[in-house]
């Protein structure tokens, strides 16, 4: 009886101490996903050559790359973020406006921020020809939120 109980207690302690809620495994604050599509065929993607991309006054996230999609963070401290895209030395900016909402995820992940009522406040049309916001609520990274035609 005594031997068994010690074993049971030890097993329980081991089970409970290796809980998975100590590590954050859930998805947290989403990034914005942008697709670069062809203006003539809006369903097809078109690569953007030698793109340099940065946000506000920060360092560049992408430096001189050729890509057809982009995922980038949103500023959690403000309700708008300015994105600057420079391709072949032609610069375009997009000003996104949004409302922030913090959602509880779990003990280890804490809170994540989702963005609601995302809208394109202003943008320039130098190399860009059209911009579409596909989802006004950014809460996950499963689909593209913004499509840019060029």
């Amino acid at each position: 009886m005594k031997k068994y109980s010690t074993l049971i207690i030890l097993a329980l302690i081991l089970m409970l101490s290796c809980e998975k809620d100590d590590i954050c495994v859930e998805t947290t604050t989403p990034r914005v996903i942008i697709l670069f599509n062809n203006f003539d065929e809006p369903e097809n993607s078109k690569e953007l050559s030698s793109l340099t991309f940065w946000v506000n006054e920060n360092d560049s996230i992408v430096l001189n790359q050729t890509i057809d999609s982009l995922a980038f963070p949103i500023d959690l401290t403000q309700n708008s973020t300015q994105y600057i895209f420079k391709t072949n030395n032609i610069k375009d900016t997009i000003n996104l406006e949004y409302n922030r909402k913090d959602i509880f995820v779990s003990r280890s992940c804490g809170y994540k921020t989702i963005f609601e009522e995302v809208q394109n406040k202003s943008n320039t049309f130098n190399w860009m020809k059209d911009i579409t916001i596909n989802q006004t609520t950014i809460e996950n990274e499963t689909a593209a939120h913004i499509t840019i035609l060029h």
Binding site: I9, L12, T28, T29, I61, L76, T77, D102, G110
Partner: protein, 230 residues
């Protein structure tokens, strides 16, 4: 020769009977105390002393109903601030646990020790205060600010079932030292909006699968009311 051996056999048989009957007459009729036992959890004031962010007190009591069965109750108050990677919150509230213990220990004459298993139904009334949190974002491009909402979630409740395993030792006359270990399973909680009951008074930390554990170190005094024959 044969007769001589049979005779001592009968004599010895007779004497053993006499000895046995004699012993039965000699047996002291022991009495066991039945009464109310009251005490406190001594680990709570100690943790309060060493960890200022934790405050707690727990009163315990039991009544001996049958020889091996005790009705048990625990009543307590708990205040604890929990610090997680992205969160900081304070839980404050009181709790009540009602149940029974079964003593599985066979005492020698005059001893009153216990190795027991028990079951409890626990309930808690509490409030949570979300002191601060930092929104979780991957990467370091944007550094999020820590938010101090100080949101209070009041009138929260929880109910759970608890399995207890422990022992009690009579150290002085009617004074008991005890230790117990419990495994808990949350049955029902009233969760705060956009937050979760990660800590519940009496239940302690709520694990992901709604399980919890607890340790108790108790000091209790038995108020004997009746003495019953063993």
């Amino acid at each position: 020769m044969k007769q001589l051996r049979i005779l001592p056999f009968y004599i010895s048989l007779l004497t053993t009977f006499i000895v046995f009957s004699q012993q039965e007459k000699d047996t002291v009729k022991t009495k066991e105390s039945y009464g109310i036992r009251v005490g406190i959890d001594i680990s709570k004031p100690i943790t309060t002393y060493f960890e200022p962010e934790t405050k707690g007190i727990e009163l315990i009591g039991d009544i001996r109903l049958k020889r091996n069965i005790y009705a048990a109750v625990e009543l307590g108050f708990d205040e604890k601030t929990t610090e997680e990677d992205y969160l900081n919150f304070t839980t404050k509230g009181s709790y009540l646990k009602i149940g029974a213990n079964y003593n599985a220990y066979k005492n020698w004459v005059g001893m009153n020790n216990e190795i027991f298993v028990g079951i409890r139904y626990g309930m808690s009334f509490f409030e949570q205060t979300l002191n601060s949190y930092t929104p979780n974002i991957k990467g370091t491009y944007f550094i999020p600010d820590t938010v101090n909402p100080n949101t209070e979630f009041k009138d929260l409740t929880a109910q759970w079932v608890e399995f207890v395993f422990g022992l009690k030792v009579e150290t002085f006359k009617n004074l008991y030292l005890g230790a117990s270990f419990s495994v808990k399973k949350m049955m029902n909680t009233k969760e705060p909006e956009n937050f979760k009951n990660l800590y519940v008074p009496g239940f302690n930390r709520v694990f992901l699968n709604d399980m919890g554990v607890g340790f108790n170190y108790t000091l209790s005094y038995l108020i004997p009311i009746v003495k019953k024959k063993k």
